[in-house]
Symmetry: C2
Subunit: 123 residues, 2 copies
Amino acid sequence: MSDFQAIAVEFVKHYYNTFDTDRASLVGLYRDNSMLTFQGSQHLGAASIAEKLVSLPFQKVQHHYNPPDAQPTANGIIVLVTGQLAVDGDADRPLGFSQAFHLVQDPAGQWFVYNDIFNLVVV
Amino acid sequence: MSDFQAIAVEFVKHYYNTFDTDRASLVGLYRDNSMLTFQGSQHLGAASIAEKLVSLPFQKVQHHYNPPDAQPTANGIIVLVTGQLAVDGDADRPLGFSQAFHLVQDPAGQWFVYNDIFNLVVV
């Protein structure tokens, strides 16, 4: 398994674990120049992005996802995840989702989310 | 509408029009360093990518997609598309799909697909 694939797998696991257990902590995965497009709503910077994610109108959420696909870019790793999520215990009505991440490294060498695009998938 | 969004919209329209009418011509949208991950199958370079796309086991395909979301990267534009596709006239059983593109410019200033990750979405 190449490095970028291993990094993507590890990141995705950490991201959704954090999302499902302590959404506010997601702020640490973004930086001031990070971008989020969430169902068409655009947010710039870690603080604004975390505010959006924390304000989503559900208490509990659980993500189930397929193994992510990853590719290297000039300065990072692009990751595409598809899966299902269940909110507030409504496991009988999972919602399909698709999320693209672009991970890059900060000056200290730590990976963070530079680009993040999330969409529910209605088939 | 910012430039990157307009470029993404125009690209996506051109890409799926070409896919649905003349798949072999997609080769012109990739370069020798382009990457495609198609349902987990990895391909490097325009020739290999076009060969994969042309060999897909259907004669006719039609993509229907939602307005794409786009964000700038350090050297390009990341685009996420979700939609449905119908193959060989089977319009009653559309398949959900999700596709992430990373568009960058070649030395002549022409946009091409550097990263391409495609997945069917089963909900």
